[in-house]
Amino acid sequence: MDFDFTSDQEQLRDVVRRWVDKDYDIEHRRALVKAGGHAGADASGAWQSLAELGLLGLAVTGEHGGMDMGPVEAMVVMEELGRGLVISPYAGAALMGAGVLRDHAPSELQAAWLPRVAEGTARVIPALQERGARYRLSHVSATAQKGADGAWRVSGVKNLVAIGGDDGVAEAYVVPARVSGAVDAPEGIALFLVERGASGLKAQPYALLDGSRAAELTFDSAPAALIAEQGFAPLEHMVDIGIAALCAEGVGAMESLLALTVDYMNTRKQFNVLISSFQALRHRASDMKMQLELARSMSYYATLKLTAPADERRRALAQAKVQLGQSMRFVAQQAVQLHGGIGVTEEYAAGHFFKRLTVMELSLGDTMHHLGEVSARMQDSAGVFA
């Protein structure tokens, strides 16, 4: 029972933080958002930087050229990306996509893709969201069929495929498709890898409210490689990796936003005194700190439970997302409120944190969804070790 980071982990944090502080300030981010997806394949240069920092192979095993790091290192990186409000498909590609290949793909698929993932030449991004599915992972109506030639082909539409700051940069997608069963059945879902250039694949990009880009992917008998025929458990695992990443990113973002708010309260005057002198506002700041620390605690919990058996892992990740959802909403709303007018402007950073925190609540299951999961998975015993 130990929550210290190793010196290697602290160093990793420093590396990311230094890059963020130097190359990714809020002005830089705003310029990226303004440019939308029209600025080219790697307008931000962020992916290149992440590659140079060696972060893209974080979850890739050594044999495929990666750093073979674990959930704690992923958490460290995500906290820093959150702190800097970095727009990036890092979690989707370097953690979720790479993770599902590493843990669940046949070895030849791993050999074909993981080295490219690690060196930064291929992003493999999950394409999960279907119309009407809301947050139910088992709601898959995309279909996959095995041809006479033994090759798989996928048809269907996936949405909200998070491609980061630029359009069309993923080299492949992880796609759940149904090989049998009813639309909401967990059974009969297989996971596939579909390449960007596959015939029958069309991508239509658009903006999300946090300024990042996403795409609608339409698959029309697109050739696909099988990752896992019993795909639902790997899908859940991949999503849990994503939830843990979101939790860590949320912690980083809330930490920045609280610091911004504290600074503002100690600068801004109303009625001729600093607004940090008003007790009602001081208590609000104290409540934000509470939510941040509860969230940080549950982010650790999420990360450290990623390697637990599936049942225990799913329950813990749902619990964590409920806490993060509540914390992110509270911290975001109160930060804007404490800033007053300037908090709602596009010009000032607080609003951008607000938007990113809002998107995070709506991603991979919102608070109500995960509350339902916690409720359904509740046990008689209680606590971290229950």
Partner: protein, 398 residues
Amino acid sequence: MDLQFTPEQEAFRQEMRTWVRANLPADISHKVHNALRLSKDDMQRWAKILGAKGLHGYGWPKEFGGPGWDAIQRHIFEEECAMAGSPRIVPFGPVMVAPVIMAFGSPEQHQRFLPGIMSGEVWWSQGYSEPGSGSDLASVKTRAERQGNKYIVNGQKTWTTLGQYGDWIFCLVRTNSEVKPQAGISFLLIDMKSPGVTVRPIITMDGEHEVNEVFFDNVEVPAENLVGQENQGWTYAKYLLAHERTNIADVNRAKRELERVKRIARAEGVYDDARFRDQIALLEVDVIALEMMVLRVLSAEHGGKKALDVAGLLKVRGSEIQQRYSELMMLAAGPTSQVFLQEAMEAGWQGDQFAGGFPGGNLTAAPLAATYLNYRKTTIYGGSNEVQRNIVAQTLLG
């Protein structure tokens, strides 16, 4: 004690309902019901329709060309407009500056300004807030120096809602800095086409251009545009604030939007989800309680009894409810709410480039997150909710 309106009031409601539904353009009400983007023309078209009927100043007394309605009639009219999906009246002219001009302006000012406000021809803006003033409105820094028969105005206003469309702006300006802040303020009407007036947009985090900064650089304002007496502006400003009254809770719009929450929840398949539905049920109780509180205030006002001291409560609760329904709508559409297509907020957009018309969901989801972002303002503006709580506490505790 009676919850029912009188037969006369019910007849009035029918009359208003018939008139509003007959005269409100369908394209406008479609936009309002779906929170699509309203253009200047949309807003002004409706203002002029009201104006032609003598209702743009529906709160005005008869002597100034208004209908002379009582508080309950005004409420009924507001409710019928809201439920029919009419745009909110841009309040700066008919609701804000007009009563000040009526009460404190000269007969010449009455004649000069009120007809244009009533007709909806002249667009007014508000020049109250300044950079750094926040909830401390009396800290006015914009100076107006008297030079002969005119004032020279220098300074800056901010958060000027829809100021980009403004023909005229009413401003609090400092005409005396030797006295305590409240005592040196004047109330000035300024033609926004005057040389030296610059309007600069403030883009809010929903990407919209709704508010502005307004700069005054040696702007010459005829002295005849001073309302009332020099250095008495704070009195008029307070009169104006007191005049905003019950509609501050905006409960009629809340009712319409609660119905929209239910429609969206049904379309998104969560209306019958017990967990989500409970949240709607809680909001429903909140809206009804707010409406009852508004009705109590109206009744007291109507009965001429001493006013209920709940104005601060109405603002706080009304704004919290606005935020909550905007949040619930967004949560109803769930993941799809993340999609942020500016063009999808324009009426008529169909999203043919997407497989299902709107990425991953229903077109009704297009404005939901934008509204959620936009409504963060409601607990900040018009006297932040913290300031309102101060006021309520002052009344309670001294």
